[in-house]
Symmetry: C2
Subunit: 330 residues, 2 copies
């Protein structure tokens, strides 16, 4: 089978658009080689992570192309950050339906240009194919971390503090609003949430600082409880959270006041891309220093416990019912 | 957008099937982390390559799942080999339509198990998503190569010999037969070609030996002329080939004798995954040694010339018309 016949003329344009993205990466050699080479510092090991976004599943087809590109990249940068790594570059596989326009492609490439500059990384390599299905974007991010220092999910210990960066639930609440009232109204009324849904902020500045401080870390992509469970499962522990301590943005707070069911979206909604980490009590000062240094809010929301379950306590100290847990994948 | 609703129950099975594939990779940590870590030898740099196969474009939906998996892996291993590298591991992104059966997934994983053992690599990480479109498989292979030794496309010099491994045209001729007479008849009558189409042999044993011997290298995925052009473009040279020297399998020879148009498939057909490399005359002895050491036939098929065109000479020394050149992508 050969897709020469199916090959849209846009493929030439893609070459034109993507080659400049590889300019900063010497080892990418203008994307003309089979492989890119990437120097890893001699005291480091490589970190790698793959993520796929499918139109109609992970984003709306009419989401702005530049924001799709940036979200794709940021989701992977978030993974590198959660492991304590520094991103170095990325590989991009585009499976394009016939109806993708040149304008869409240009906007997509512009989004990458913008975030490459913001996160100081470059394109290492790519592959473009036709597809009869929806637009499918797969990205592999490669980073580096000092040898043996990868922050894993498996290091949480009973008694450790549980912290999150930023605020929780914004992306999921934005998605609810988009589904209920449409994107225009959501953008107008809940701009803060809408922006967070469309364009997460990977905590690349915090990730590397967690080495030696955090005992375990994960980024919140599946949902607060689901990702906390990933740490708990890997560490064979449980967690007790205090509902009142979960950091909520002022806009999300309005929605919680309007309908308390929205708390379930805080517990179970995904796409926040904040870091959720555990640290021994002795490191509280270090965590404060990271907060000061980065200017990113870091909030203690609970404690690691030995019993392998996750509970959230309300103001009276009673467990809150968790109806939405988020979702698992391998 | 959240694909929890669309998530097939097979996702649990995929976890079950894929986790054992990561067992040999310590840094994959049982696929439970955000990133895999991968030690790169201190005298090496990382090599990486991404490839996507889409059902209906790159393979037939009814191709055996284990062979699809192995082809996916081998295509990337071939890229690593063409760059002179040694493969270390891979990341896998699966976008699965609803109708993928458990049986298909088991067979797919079995294919990976088989080739992981054959090529001594393991799974580093993965991502599984739903898709409303065709099965889409994206794989990133990661390898290593001594620092500064990556074999590139850009090093060919006027007067260099041009070599290929194995035989050329088999995969494309098999595809023609499948399209014309169906897969059963092709398998029966042209088994040698059929096998090569379904399951290429990446020249992982030859790639690393080319360091210090080859001036440029590429694997033949797009077609002999198209991939030779990649070298010529990157090296700002041309090439003159001798038709009679192009190595042809005995089965392909029968088809060429039957219809000389089939030569165009030798020149322009893709999917052979042989290595095409150039080397200075002074290295002829070294090339012979590589052939002896690996037992893989290596044939000198032409010479690098300064004029930036590709020509193929027939027995009388006249240029053969090249009607199919293969195809380009970025």
């Amino acid at each position: 089978m050969n897709d020469a016949k199916n090959r849209p003329s846009e493929f030439d344009l893609i070459g034109e658009l993507l080659v400049p993205l590889a300019k900063s990466q010497r080892g990418a050699d203008g994307l003309q080689d089979d492989c890119a080479s990437l120097a890893i510092n001699s005291d480091c090991e490589a970190l790698c992570s793959i993520d796929t976004l499918v139109a109609g599943v992970h984003f709306f087809e009419n989401d702005p192309a530049d924001l799709i590109a940036r979200k794709l990249l940021r989701v992977s940068l978030s993974d590198i950050a959660a492991s304590g790594g520094v991103p170095k570059g990325y590989l991009l596989a585009l499976s394009l339906p016939d109806d993708v326009s040149n304008e869409w492609l240009r906007l997509f490439a512009n989004g990458l240009v913008q975030d490459q500059s913001e996160y100081e990384i470059g394109l290492l390599g790519g592959d473009t194919t036709s597809t009869l299905g929806p637009l499918t974007l797969s990205l592999t991010a490669i980073g580096e971390v000092p040898i043996g220092s990868t922050v894993r999910r498996s290091g949480a210990k009973k008694g450790d503090d549980i912290f999150v960066t930023g605020t929780i639930g914004d992306a999921a609440l934005a998605l609810d609003q988009i589904n209920e009232t449409g994107r225009d109204q959501t953008r107008e009324i809940y701009r803060e949430l809408y922006d967070r849904y469309l364009l997460p902020i990977p905590r690349t500045n915090i990730g590397p600082l967690l080495i030696g401080t955090a005992s375990a870390c994960v980024d919140i992509s599946d949902g607060l409880c689901a990702d906390l469970e990933h740490i708990c499962d890997a560490s064979t522990v449980g967690a007790s959270l205090t509902q009142a301590d979960i950091p909520i943005s002022s806009t999300a707070r309005k929605l919680l006041n309007k309908d308390s069911w929205n708390w379930q979206r805080v517990f179970g909604g995904g796409d926040d891309y904040e870091l959720l980490f555990t640290a021994p009590l002795i490191n509280r000062e270090k965590v404060l220093e990271i907060e000061k240094k980065t200017g990113v809010r870091i909030t203690r929301i609970g404690t690691v416990v030995s019993e392998p379950t996750i509970s959230i306590m309300d103001a009276e100290g009673s467990p809150v019912k968790i109806e939405m847990f988020g979702w698992k994948h391998f």
